[in-house]
């Protein structure tokens, strides 16, 4: 194929960010086109059908399923309250009656003469969708949701844990090389998103959650710490539903890896601003990466030009990040793109590029093992 390299993650200072905020089932949209919204504002809501509570009435009453309808006190479609008798046997001359109570508030959905089972559908479960980012509604999708748009900084991470959150950005490391350890977590970080350097330790993550931080953005994380922390191994890269108390976004990869300078600078220049963060990651078809969205005021935007996405492809002069050992995490500039296949140490013949690292040293790498840093 023409492009063997991995397109990089998006890290931009100014861009237009749009988010579709859609209900899981059709429902009611609460805002109009043009409405200015804050991240936590509810934009659409609906009711999901309630949980179903199956209960084998025939077994409980000790009757054959065919006779169940004679014993039912409520009929199909009627409402019941939790603890209310639903069925009762006639007993023996009015004595020794046995009864069966409803396990929940709800409606009788099914009475089965074959199995003796009665299904009680619980009350509907309300669900709502919030705006997630500060911005304005640019489109209303009838009965389904809205599109929210904002302008600001946008940083994509490589892997994340936990769902959507919103809070004030705060730098806790002074350089992208710094380790974010327990001592770097301030006491007053409640509701904040903390930004570190090359790696976050297990202790630091725990303390950040204890102190009430809503998010952590950092270069790297050791897999072993992640496992200890979650209590299980992440087998397949589909995340976002973890309930840790804080959302984690790693920007570079697993292990200790300096956060890319441009990423660190963007986050630093926005310290103190409100940002929205989402750890959800999915690395199969329809790739989903974790992200940090930092909306800017319109007055600030006027002073700077909004940049368009630049994915022109790999060229001599492109800035790249190495994404596989033995140079994993190092940043450099492409100095040559030889067209012919080259033999690696493994004896595989692949397309390669020459890269010059910050210290002036040069090396040959497979094109598949670098990603572009997009500005």
């Amino acid at each position: 194929m023409a492009h063997a390299y991995t397109p990089g993650l998006k890290v931009v200072e100014r861009t237009v960010i749009t988010k579709r905020r859609i209900l899981p089932l059709k429902g009611e949209v609460l805002v109009e086109q043009g409405t200015t919204v804050r991240a936590e504002d509810v934009v659409a809501k609906t009711d999901l059908p309630g949980n179903v509570h199956p209960i084998n009435v025939a077994n409980i009453l000790g009757i054959v399923p065919e006779d169940i309808e004679h014993s039912m006190l409520v009929k199909h479609g009627e409402t019941v309250k939790k603890g209310e008798p639903m069925a009762m046997t006639k007993g023996f001359f009015g004595f020794f009656k046995s009864s069966c109570e409803s396990p929940a508030d709800g409606t009788i959905e099914n009475i089965s003469k074959v199995t003796g089972q009665v299904l009680v559908r619980g009350v509907p479960l309300p669900v709502s969708v919030d705006a997630y980012i500060d911005g304005s509604v640019t489109e209303v999708i009838q009965n389904e949701g809205v599109v929210v748009e904002t302008r600001g900084a946008f940083v994509q991470g490589i892997f994340g844990i936990g769902g959507e959150a919103c809070g004030e950005l705060r730098m806790v490391c002074s350089s992208p090389k710094d380790v974010m350890d327990k001592s770097s977590i301030p006491n007053d970080c409640k509701g904040q998103i903390l930004v570190g350097g090359s790696i976050v330790t297990s202790d630091a993550t725990k303390r950040a959650i204890e102190m009430g931080a809503v998010g952590i953005v950092v270069g790297g994380l050791a897999d072993q710490d992640l496992r200890d922390f979650l209590g299980y191994d992440i087998g397949v890269a589909i995340t976002g539903s973890e309930q840790l108390g804080a959302t984690l976004v790693i920007t570079e990869g697993f292990g200790e890896i300096n956060m890319a300078g441009s990423t660190f600078e963007i986050l630093k220049s926005n310290e103190g601003r409100r940002a929205s963060i989402n750890g959800a990651t999915q690395i199969r078809a329809g790739v989903l990466r974790p992200e940090v969205v930092i909306p800017l005021e319109s007055s600030e935007l006027e002073q700077s030009k909004v940049s368009e996405s630049l994915s022109g492809g790999l060229q001599v002069g492109s800035e790249v990040r190495v994404i596989r050992d033995p140079y994993f995490g190092r940043l450099g500039t492409v100095t040559a793109l030889p067209p012919e296949l080259r033999k690696l140490e493994t004896e595989s013949k692949v397309r390669v590029l020459e890269v010059e690292f910050d210290d002036g040293s040069k090396t040959i790498l497979p094109r598949a093992n670098v990603e572009m840093i997009e500005h």
């Binding site: 399923p65 099914n110 072993q224 397949v236 697993f254 690395i283 078809a285 595989s348 497979p366």
Partner: protein
């Protein structure tokens, strides 16, 4: 679709729309035989921003046109049939696994009987089975309902009960499905397809419960009596519904379906088809494996019975981390002949997961990746062996002579001693820098016994050939034999265990070069005999007492072992393969094996 007369077919175009790449192949009849001419590929275009699968198909075909210097497309239309040697094609067919393939849920009464049969029907049709709900699976009714609601499969296969048996259990499962009111994965506007293939006496009751809430289809019972499975009607219905519902919902597929001369098949279903065809034609026992980034599929045919399993979370990129989680760190580490800390290995594996397209640059990285592949293959094969079993719950007739050899019902059908051929495909096997590495990965993971031929599918053409076999068996099998498979050679391995260094087997070999060689191997040794593709080695293998190469303990065999790009591997490591637990000894042993089989360039770690 027009009627196809096999004798008149001169050219065939076939595509496979994978989740990342769409591959196209062109087959032509030349000098009275069908051969692969060229292949092209392009990124799949099912996802945004394209959302039309045909764009990727057309791009892949355009590459084929360019390479073959043949006009196939007229704008956005495939020219069929061919009008002259350089214009059009006679047949166009396609397979697809884009958008996650076919994802199903199965339900039934007894877990080890009807539910297992339903699983086999779904897997055989090329589906991933997301969950199997059974009356006796230990979950409470409300837990099952919750699970059905969460899953959002493409379709459900419901079975249960033998014809004439009790109906209440299968009706209960139908009630749970109705209560869950499941929604299909793709598209909000249509009802979820449910296939009922259970006790025919329960049809009316099941229809009453599911008829309105789902798109219910009734087919013959897949287990009409305990002693017999009848999976074909259910399997065919799955294929029909896959076309009508799942494919029709995926972007651009309606257009693609109108172009093809045969129904679009799910990729794994098509792979199964070609393996089944080959096993039948050559009367051999075959195991095939396709190890991908996310999943590993295993196909087998033993005694004419076809089985397929898919291990949905064992793969080499997206699911690589799960291989470590399931196999455990020690099992991965045992294949690595150098020092590596757990922390380091964990980070490397996770980094591969989050950046799946990267490739090993150093030899160490390659060896690590191949170590993980062994475990992924091993686990997937274990899974396969547990599902490729005889029918459970069947009464067996026993004679007095069986009294001391009680065999269970439901024993695995996989018999490694009877296995004739092991075929591997998927990046890690097909693209190994040396074919020797692919051969040894397969030997280590599957541990074939006796005499077994080894091959890899060079460019993963099996899916296209599978669909082709439904239209034109000759063309499919000719191309499979000549262009699809790369014959690696043969593995000769006695079963048995013993002390390392104890005598294991004596081999007399007449090599294709005319040379006669006597090889004596001790337990724990490997040896490679040179024999190229198309050549064979006349072997007399004398196993020592306690070792068996197929004729019984200590009994010799004489065979013609096929050569290949690797040769004939004499594997005297015993079965199960004994790997030294002591680390320095293990490292020494690995270095010895790597050298004996020319697996890697010279290394010193």
């Amino acid at each position: 679709m027009t009627e196809i007369v096999p004798e008149n077919v001169k050219s065939i175009l076939a595509t496979d729309c994978g989740s990342t790449t769409t591959k196209a192949i062109l087959i032509e009849k030349r000098d009275d035989e069908y051969r692969l001419i060229v292949r092209g590929e392009a990124p799949t275009t099912v996802e945004a921003p394209f959302e039309d699968v045909t764009m990727g198909v057309l791009n892949a075909i355009a590459e084929v046109e360019e390479l073959a210097k043949r006009k196939i497309l007229d704008g956005n239309k495939i020219l069929t049939p061919q009008t002259d040697e350089k214009t059009g094609v006679d047949i166009y067919i396609s397979t697809s696994s884009a958008g996650g393939g076919l994802q199903m849920m199965v339900g039934g009464v007894v877990k080890s009987m009807t539910v297992e049969s339903a699983q086999r029907a779904a897997l055989g049709a090329g589906a991933i089975v997301m969950d199997a709900i059974a009356s006796n699976d230990g979950r409470l009714a409300h837990e099952k309902i919750e699970r059905i609601r969460q899953l959002r499969p493409d379709m459900i296969l419901l079975s249960g009960g033998i014809d004439g048996g009790t109906i209440s259990h299968v009706v209960e499962i139908a009630e749970l499905i109705a209560a869950a009111d499941p929604k299909p994965r793709l598209g909000m506007s249509y009802q979820l397809p449910v296939i009922y293939a259970g006790n025919k006496d329960a049809t009316a009751e099941v229809t009453q419960r599911l008829g309105e809430k789902t798109d219910l289809e009734v087919v013959d019972n897949l287990r009409p009596v305990l002693e017999r499975e009848n999976l074909i009607p259910a399997r065919n219905k799955i294929h029909d519904l896959f076309m009508e519902h799942v494919m029709a919902q995926a972007p651009g597929y309606k257009k693609l379906m109108a172009w093809t001369d045969a129904p679009i098949m799910p990729t794994p279903g098509a792979v199964g088809k070609i393996i089944e065809t080959i096993a039948k034609l050559e009367s051999i026992q075959v195991v095939g494996v396709d190890i991908g980034g996310a999943t590993t599929d295993i196909f087998s045919v033993f005694s004419g019975v076809f089985n397929r399993t898919v291990s949905a979370n064992l793969g080499m990129s997206y699911s690589v981390s799960n291989v470590l989680a399931e196999a455990g760190i020690d099992n991965v580490m045992r294949w690595i002949p150098f020092d590596l800390g757990e922390r380091d290995l964990r980070n490397r594996i996770k980094n591969k997961m989050i950046r799946p397209t990267t490739i090993p640059q150093s030899l160490q990285e390659l060896i690590i990746e191949q170590a993980i592949a062994r475990e992924a293959l091993r686990l997937a094969f274990e899974h396969h062996k547990s599902l490729a079993v005889g029918l459970k719950g069947v009464q067996q007739e026993r004679t007095i002579s069986d009294a001391f050899a009680q065999s269970r019902t439901g024993a695995t059908l996989v018999n490694l001693m009877q296995l004739d051929m092991l075929v591997g495909s998927g990046g890690i096997l097909s693209h190994a820098p040396r074919r020797h590495q692919a051969a040894v990965m397969m030997i280590d993971a599957f541990q074939p016994e006796g005499v077994t031929r080894l091959a890899v599918d060079s460019i993963f053409m099996m899916p296209q050939l599978g669909v082709l076999s439904t239209l034109h068996e000759t063309a499919a099998t000719e191309v499979f034999d000549k262009d699809c498979l790369i014959h690696l050679g043969t593995c000769v391995a006695p079963t048995g265990t013993g002390k390392p260094g104890a005598p294991c087997m004596q081999v007399s070999a007449d090599l294709p070069s005319g040379e006669h060689r006597e090889v004596s191997l001790s337990l724990g040794e490997m040896y490679l005999l040179e024999a190229k593709v198309g050549e064979s080695v006349r072997l007399t293998v004398n196993p020592h007492k306690g070792f068996d190469v197929g004729a019984g303990s200590g009994k010799s065999i004489t065979v013609n072992a096929s050569g290949g790009v690797v040769g004939v591997v004499l594997d005297a490591r015993g079965r199960p393969i004994a790997i030294p637990e002591d680390r320095p000894e293990r490292v020494r042993k690995f270095q010895e094996w790597h050298k004996a089989l020319s697996m890697y360039p010279e290394y010193s770690f």
